[in-house]
Amino acid sequence: MLELRRVTKAFAGVPAIDAVDLTIHDDEYLTLLGPSGSGKSTLLRLIAGLEVCDSGTISLDGEDITYSPTHLRNLGFVQQSYGLFPHMNVFDNVAFGLRHRTHNPIEDSSEVDRRVKAMLDLVGLSELGQRMVGQLSGGQKQRVSLARTLVTEPKVCLLDEPLGALDANLRERMTVELRKIREALGVTFMHVTGNEDEALAMGDRMIVLDHGRLLQVAPPDMVYREPDNVAVARFVNAYNILEGRVSDGAFLQDDARLPAAGAPDGKGYYAIRHDAATIHHGSEPPEGAVALPATFVTEEFLGSRFFYFLRLDDGTVFEVERHLSREDPIHLEAGTRCMVSWDPRNALHFGADGNRIGAPAMKGAA
């Protein structure tokens, strides 16, 4: 179990990580989502010991490792750029940690051989042991980098945007593979990514980070359905977010009053998922639905679904997602006036501080 307590780090006075509390359990897949500049790489480097925190403590299985050097932490670190040793072949890259580590190096070469071969088998590189790393494709490098780390049996394996440099096809395959490898070894993965789909798809739990603070730590479906904060709702990239004022239990959007029971008066945010809204052109919104007038802008075809882009009268872009398995596509001319509607029970409300109304207060983040 890896525990972070009030870990803080600033670069030249600018806070990068701000009093982060986090507990990472054994044998779990944790994804960390944050936009670039949110401090996600810094957090990973702090845990790995490549940066030293200004205050706070990091402990691994009860042992304080806040100031231990990297090579004594027994944590794995897989970099975005892979960091392979260019003057060695694949086998020697993977064997390097076993042979040369300070703690418990393995002198017996047949033992090294056995473990490296087993690991190369696991990541599907058993044929390429003798190849130099310069001769590998991006996906193969990624696997070498992973194998090299996992063969040393770290307690926690930190992955810094491991799929960032791969093309879309490979990315999808590695997504499945990473989960499979992790389950086979029972090691904890902490996977940093800037891609919301990756974070949602891969994690047993998901962390959302922004401006050096944890916004939400929860299972991905919770993060997706009930984002604790308007920023989280933005990052998962599945919500239309309206910004405005609440008064007398209603969110004011132009002339319309959207029901927002329980929301305090003042500045607020109103969010509705892309797939919870419907476009009406020549038909009336159903009874009890909330409807707003909008102007059709354009559409985007994504195979199994359509994305429609509309503009509300105050200029806000509004997206509607339509799955072709459930409905036939509609086709509208750009500039067509229409209505968008949704069931008000599906809407989420956020207060002036960005926190969701009715969300549990963010604490300890266990």
Binding site: L50, T70, H71, Q79, Y82, H100, H103, M132, G134
Partner: protein, 283 residues
Amino acid sequence: MQNNGFLRTALGLYTALFIIFLYGPFVVMGILSFQAGPEGGPQFPIIEWSTYWYRHVFGLTPPSRVAPLPIGEALLRSLTLAFATMVVSTVLGTLTAQGFRRNFRGSGPVFYLVVLGMMVPGVLLGLGMALVADQLDIARTWWGTAFVLHVVYTFPFAFLVMLAIFNRFDKSVEEAAWALGVSPGRTFRKITFPMIFPGVLSAMLFAFTLSYDEFPRTLFTGGSEVTMPIAIYGTFAVEIHPNIFAFGVLTTLFSFALLSTYGILMAMSVRRAKFAAVQEDIE
């Protein structure tokens, strides 16, 4: 088009002149080294082609009025001095450049202090060192006072070469090794050093050649046991014979040999990766 042709002619002429000035002295020296001896002098025309002066350099000619070049021991001293300077400067330069990879307080002034060693005119530095040695009653020797100045002079070159190498060095490779549980010291030996080795070779070459033909600093601080450049300069004072040219050709060939060795080592360290790949294809 006409303009273009003029430009080409001008550039061609410029290049030709450049090459003449670059290689002219060496060609003249090479031709004159084959002058007949011992009566032939260091001037044209060539009386008769002969290898007399080459044999003279190695002491293989019967005694004549031309004294043998006093370079045997001087050459050995110069090579020893250059080798020692090379080792010390390269080690120091590599370590200093390694230090400069992290931005430490006062790194700016320290940088200029290091580089000062190659900026200060050699004559001044040599004279200053001689005065200091006299004041402190230190004997002036090629392996003592001169050696120190050679290091002061070549260390900045080695340092700058290594600084450029480290600038391009991908730190994530070292971080990866640390994260695998390997200590920083072992990481340097097993990862960093093999990767910067081509740079280290360049730094060594710089340090060696600069020290090997260093003149002004050695002149003032070398003492009575002279190094090769001083010994050659000493022979100018009497009368110039083509044996010096023969010696010049030999040392130039030696330098080429050194450069070739460097080139081969470089190519080997670069090609090792490709070579292994080729081997695998054969299997």
